[in-house]
Symmetry: C2
């Protein structure tokens, strides 16, 4: 097996696998703990007009919506043009979130009784439909931990800023939503610590198996947890993948080399298809998403009161892998997807990544019908999960894995094993955030 397919240090693979197969607590205990933490903190989020956002304003020249500190993020205009090799070009303008800072998304792990435990946080994010979800140990931008907020210190962040020798288990830069963010990357880290470190309020140890249970419930495990956990090494497959690792990577390289995307910032005020009202920025046909303002009161955040813009998508997205076996070796069907805000233009995405209501009848994306009409017995995973609640309001997507009979992959698609995709995840910036969530779902799947 080539370098790409090697699952990482064998010992680390085994340690994560053992934790994925271990349950010391029933899911309800985790849910009870989350409910208790939610009750302990008086969170309140309400929609407010832009004029009531404290510290945020529209630039008189560009119309961009930014914070007076120049930090956090800015809502800008974005012009995009895609010129497919086969097919007509498409060009459009849209608002986009520009966040130059790379956040750290970090999970601490510790071994107890020979099994890795993950220190997870009950964290409120204003955009989450249920406010509080299971989050990584640390989820913080430099603005957070360098105190632009003028709030409390970010707990446990020092473990990620200064990693002890041998303690690092994963570390890579990963993209986030390529149609909502302009070239955003976060640093995803897993770091091992002494099991005796203090466990603060709002934090709790979970095995990977227990997190997998919670991941199968609607809107419990947040996006940041899902992407960090996708960086854990997974066991190598037994048997041959349909494509070599080099062929798979070459396919992505070749598509990136075509340069079919041209995209860059424009003044937000110059977008012709977007309308700003006192309460929201929206598309003239009320499609895609709105940008809105919220005011937050919270007890467990670095500061206890703030307001900010959020991107509020229209409709429920669907992210699905078709899965099958070739010669007994499990594969999923990945799509090479151009997204206008991806710094690398193209990443590997789920088979289907779409919001059905955005598509006119007859122009549905490939395989959407197969997913929507799949028999329940074919669904290995089917759950509603929230996208990042610090930037997106009620952004809920349906995540699905559908078992299908094998068939040849069409253009722009390839069959790949989860071990191959996992290795690409650890390379960074090859597998998009929706596909990474599905990989975490598959990696925590109980043995069948």
């Amino acid at each position: 097996m080539s370098a790409l397919g090697t699952p990482g240090p064998g010992e680390a693979v085994d340690r994560f696998a053992r934790s994925a197969a271990r349950w010391d607590h029933a899911p309800v205990e985790g849910l009870d703990w989350l409910a208790e933490r939610a009750a302990a903190h008086p969170f309140r989020v309400e929609r407010v007009p832009f004029a009531e956002l404290d510290g945020w304003s529209f630039d008189p020249g560009s119309g961009d919506l930014g914070h007076r500190s120049g930090r956090f993020f800015t809502v800008r205009g974005w012009d995009a043009k895609v010129e497919p090799v086969d097919g007509p070009p498409r060009a459009w303008g849209q608002p986009i979130l520009d966040q130059p800072e790379h956040a750290i998304l970090g999970v601490l792990v510790a071994e107890v009784d020979g099994v890795l435990r993950f220190l997870m946080q009950a964290k409120m994010e204003p955009g989450n439909c249920n406010l509080l979800q299971l989050s990584p140990t640390v989820q913080a931008t430099p603005s957070n931990y360098r105190k632009v907020h003028a709030g409390a210190a970010v707990k446990y962040v020092d473990h990620f800023l200064e990693v002890g020798p041998g303690a690092l288990l994963a570390d890579s830069l990963q993209s986030e939503h390529g149609s909502w963010f302009a070239g955003k990357h976060n640093r995803n880290m897993i770091v091992e610590v002494d099991p005796d470190i203090p466990v603060l309020d709002d934090f709790r140890w979970f095995t990977l198996g227990e997190i997998g249970d919670l991941l199968r419930l609607d809107n419990v495990v947040n996006m940041d947890s899902r992407t960090v956990l996708s960086c854990a090494p997974v066991p190598a497959i037994k048997g041959d993948a349909l494509h070599t690792d080099l062929e798979l990577m070459s396919w992505l390289t070749g598509l990136r080399a075509r340069r079919t995307l041209t995209a860059g910032p424009v003044p937000l005020g110059a977008l012709t298809d977007w309308v700003r009202t006192p309460a929201r920025l929206h598309h003239v046909e009320d499609r895609y998403f709105d940008v809105v303002g919220v005011a937050v009161q919270a007890g467990s955040r670095e500061v206890t009161r703030w307001s900010q813009p959020l991107l509020a998508p229209h409709g429920t997205g669907i992210n699905a892998f078709l899965a099958t076996e070739f010669d007994g070796v499990p594969h999923v069907l990945v799509q090479a997807k151009v997204e206008c805000g991806l710094a690398d233009e193209v990443e590997l995405a789920p088979t289907v990544q779409a919001t059905p209501e955005h598509h006119t009848p007859g122009a549905a994306p490939a395989f959407l019908d197969e997913v929507l009409s799949a028999a329940p017995s074919r669904l290995r995973f089917d759950v509603l999960l929230s996208e990042e609640g610090g930037r997106f309001l009620d952004a809920v997507s349906r995540y699905v894995v559908v078992d299908v009979d094998p068939f040849p992959a069409p253009d722009r698609f390839r069959w790949a094993t989860t071990a191959q995709l996992s290795e690409l995840v650890r390379r960074g910036r090859c597998v998009n955030v929706q596909a990474r969530t599905l990989l975490t779902c598959l990696a925590t799947e109980p043995a069948r």
Copy 2:
């Protein structure tokens, strides 16, 4: 050994290693062949004022220098600001080459008598000090092979556009000079073919050992050959590297996550420190580089007459690795270098990458003195090599590997094995073009 350190398919490693240890022809035969090809073609390159460049002009608004087709490349202005975590910020403006197209740099290989042979080309580039150098089989942008030139077809390019099953040996996107190009990437490929393919004029088979011989002569093997060959897998080291592969990659990830560079295009005419005369664009203090025009007459290119701008650096650069052993395991000292045009901000660079005359006395880069004052017996490699002759005029750098006694790496430096760096090369966009040249030098080093 982890995934990162795995040297790729063992069989491929052995095949490249066998070719690196095989010589069927003395270096003089290769030189004679290059001289013969040079004599067969009436190349002439002369400096011309900008006004005589056919198809190239300065945009009346921005002052950018571009081609009327909008293709090839554009000389733009570039504003850069680096804010190091420790140290004062630096900000400057400069001209930069903007070439959105990804070229294919491809070498065909074929096995004869159990040994891989590399199909190399005698290719003229107008900026080369000796015009003709040993080049990859294919070195072409989509503009070349899709006929914007209205010239002859690019020979052998089909082997890279449609790769046969099992024929792919390397394929990755790589950066080029980060202080002269804005985010330029090329696709570096090695593809195996049937040894019976026709060998056209200006092409010849070489073993890797023979190419290594020529690489040790001044200005014979061009930059494109060097970067493609750096993508070949190298044998794993015996013994432990000083850092694990994950630690090495994490170090690069952490530096990238800091976002210390802010850079982007500005109108070329708006640069305050740069002066345009009819014959050249230059810095007010005559430092760094000029942009000039050349007119070319050639027989073996896709078109036989053209003119174009070139970037003409001042002075001779020096790119050097310090090399040593830890517990008998060879390491080189890599630098994490921010370059203003790198799409990924930071890549791993040689220990020293500098142009001595650009530095005021007393402010020399780290380790420059060690390299310049090294005893001849410490120099494992010391040769003058040309940077890409299609964009740079007389851009000659001294490439050096210096044996030193072991010492702890200072901040911004790490000791790494060549196998580790080779794996990072195959990931793409982690190791800069100067370091890749040095890796090719080391990979073709005769056994000591």
